[in-house]
């Protein structure tokens, strides 16, 4: 199954260093289709006003558009209620929200938070801050050599001290799709709530939060063909209701006096200040775009790219792919002989190929595999097998430059 939607992405139609751009850095951020760019333009050209405030026409229209995206997100991830959808800047802000609002209220010294060894820094550092504030302790599920989580170790890590589990749904480095539904069942058997970081999952998988039965789910718009600066925290009502506000300010209050302030109901309790309205509108357009193509088609395209690229890269002498989990998305991290990732990245760039090099914001994982830096090619729905061929040719060039 091939998707032929490359033409929807104006940015891809350009030369970089005299070569056709081959964009293989979608795990860092995806490019945006014309419909997302147009939706945001239209918002500023025709509908811009502040929301939830004025009685005038534009404000009503902006409010309607903003709230319609909340319902759009609810449907996209199959949440039970639209008030369970909170708009934030992205996954990083989402993890901080849960850590500071839920964590600081309900965790105490000696309690344990469980994460995995393949977390992005955004799902490590907010918990370390919380541990420093509360005396809670971080526990880490190990990763096996093939890039899968050690589920036996996971089961052993959950004790009566475990108060929160936060797991990356799909690894941004290894491409591993973690068996989160099974892991959530294990956690719930011991009454521990589970947070999922869905930054890489949303653009690559069908996500149903009720079927997964996760307690929180987070994702960023810009990794799912939407704009930067907008993301989502989904939380079950029972948790969101007992959490205090994360930030204070306008729009999140019912009544303010100097003696006392009462807060808004969900979801507004967590949305202080004027939000990123244009970004929210863009996110809505991105989800519409994905829905229009169909996640099943996107998944089929992604899996085809993954198997084609895995085979093509495996045939390059001295190339080693890091992560061979049974279930992966089209993200391939690799090393090439003793050639440093940054040298590879620079030479590929000279061929118009954009890849990520380094530790990919997951330094503990890089350490786990003893590799301070790898090259990562990550694919989006606009990529083609022909671009994989360009990458392979580029890697042969790298070998040639280093062939003294």
């Amino acid at each position: 199954m091939h998707i032929h939607r490359r033409k929807d992405f104006p940015i891809l139609n350009q030369l970089v260093r005299g070569k056709s751009l081959v964009y293989l850095d979608s795990a860092a951020t995806t490019q945006k289709p014309r419909s997302v760019i147009d939706a945001m333009d239209q918002y500023y050209l025709e509908n811009n006003a502040n929301i939830h405030r004025a009685v005038h026409y534009l404000s009503e229209r902006a409010t309607y558009d903003y709230e319609a995206v909340r319902v759009n997100v609810q449907n996209f991830i199959n949440a039970a209620y639209s008030h369970e959808i909170i708009f934030v800047r992205g996954v990083t802000e989402g993890v901080n929200l849960i850590a500071q609002s839920y964590g600081r209220t309900y965790l105490k010294a000696g309690d344990e938070i469980v994460i995995t060894a393949m977390e992005h820094h955004s799902n490590i550092v907010p918990w370390q801050l919380l541990c420093a504030q509360t005396g809670a302790v971080l526990r880490v599920i190990p990763v096996k050599d093939n890039g899968e989580l050690d589920l036996d170790a996971y089961a052993d890590l959950i004790t009566e001290k475990t108060k929160l589990i936060s797991i990356i749904h799909v690894s941004n480095v290894l491409g591993t799709i973690n068996p989160v539904k099974k892991m959530i069942a294990v956690a719930h058997a011991k009454n521990v709530p589970v947070i999922l970081d869905g930054a890489q999952a949303i653009p690559h998988l069908t996500v149903d939060v009720q079927d997964l039965n996760c307690d929180f789910y987070l994702f960023s718009g810009h990794k799912a063909y939407g704009p930067t600066g907008i993301g989502v925290v989904y939380g079950k009502t029972c948790y969101l209701e007992k959490m205090p506000p994360y930030q204070g300010g306008g729009d999140m209050i019912k009544q303010v006096s100097f003696a006392e302030t009462t807060y808004q109901d969900l979801p507004y309790k967590f949305e202080a200040g004027t939000p990123n309205i244009a970004g929210t509108v863009g996110l809505g357009a991105a989800l519409d775009y994905l829905r229009d193509i169909g996640m099943q088609n996107i998944i089929a395209h992604d899996q085809q790219l993954l198997s084609y690229a895995t085979e093509a890269l495996s045939n390059i002498p001295n190339l080693r792919i890091i992560g061979s989990a049974a279930h992966k998305i089209a993200v391939l991290s690799f090393v090439l002989g003793d050639i440093h990732a940054h040298d590879i990245g620079t030479i590929l760039d000279s061929e118009g190929i954009a890849v990520r090099t380094g530790h990919h914001c997951a330094m503990p994982l890089a350490e786990r595999f003893g590799l301070p830096a790898t090259v990562r090619a990550s694919f989006g729905l606009y990529n083609t097998c022909a671009e994989v061929d360009v990458l392979v040719e580029g890697l042969h060039q790298v070998n040639k430059v280093f062939s003294f």
């Binding site: 260093r17 003793d338 440093h340 940054h342 030479i347 380094g358 301070p372 430059v401």
Partner: protein, 159 residues
């Protein structure tokens, strides 16, 4: 490819693969660690100084071909030089890797003083890689001062 050959000259690949003076010098009276948190490059510079002259200089670490070659070439070029001469070399080197060979015309600086370090001039075309080329030098400068803090390329003024 032709551009790439200008950046990755044979000398750079050679020194990147087989860095010279690559050892921990036990007699060093100046030792400094430097790292680039953006890419994970790390190295330690060892210096035996006698009356303001570099008697022995060595390094250890890991990183890309540019950073390893730059460190290796640096140790070859500064051996036997006075601290004043080393400072002057660093100034010229910094200019060539940030401005390229144009820097010579504009400022009337004699790049010949750099000797084989001029092979790194190609780095100036790749702003993201300048820090790879200067990491060893910033670390060396700090080692000469015997400052206590480790060097990071992400501190203000470090390029």
């Amino acid at each position: 490819m032709t551009d790439m050959r200008e950046l990755y000259q044979e000398v750079i690949i050679d020194h990147g693969r087989r860095p010279r003076n690559f050892f921990a010098c036990e007699q060093a009276n100046h030792i400094k660690e430097g790292f680039n948190p953006l890419c994970g490059d790390k190295l330690t510079v060892y210096l035996v100084e006698h009356d303001g002259i570099v008697d022995v200089v060595s390094f250890q670490g890991c990183g890309c071909a540019i950073s390893m070659a730059s460190a290796s070439l640096m140790t070859e070029v500064i051996k036997g030089k006075s601290f004043d001469e080393v400072h002057e070399l660093f100034e010229i080197f910094h200019r060539i890797v940030t401005l390229g060979k144009l820097g010579e015309l504009n400022d009337n600086i004699d790049f010949k003083k750099l000797g084989k370090l001029t092979v790194l001039a190609g780095v100036s075309e790749y702003p993201a890689r300048v820090k790879c080329a200067t990491l060893a030098w910033h670390t060396l400068m700090a080692a000469m001062k015997n400052s206590q803090e480790p060097v990071s390329t992400e501190e203000p003024g470090m390029q």
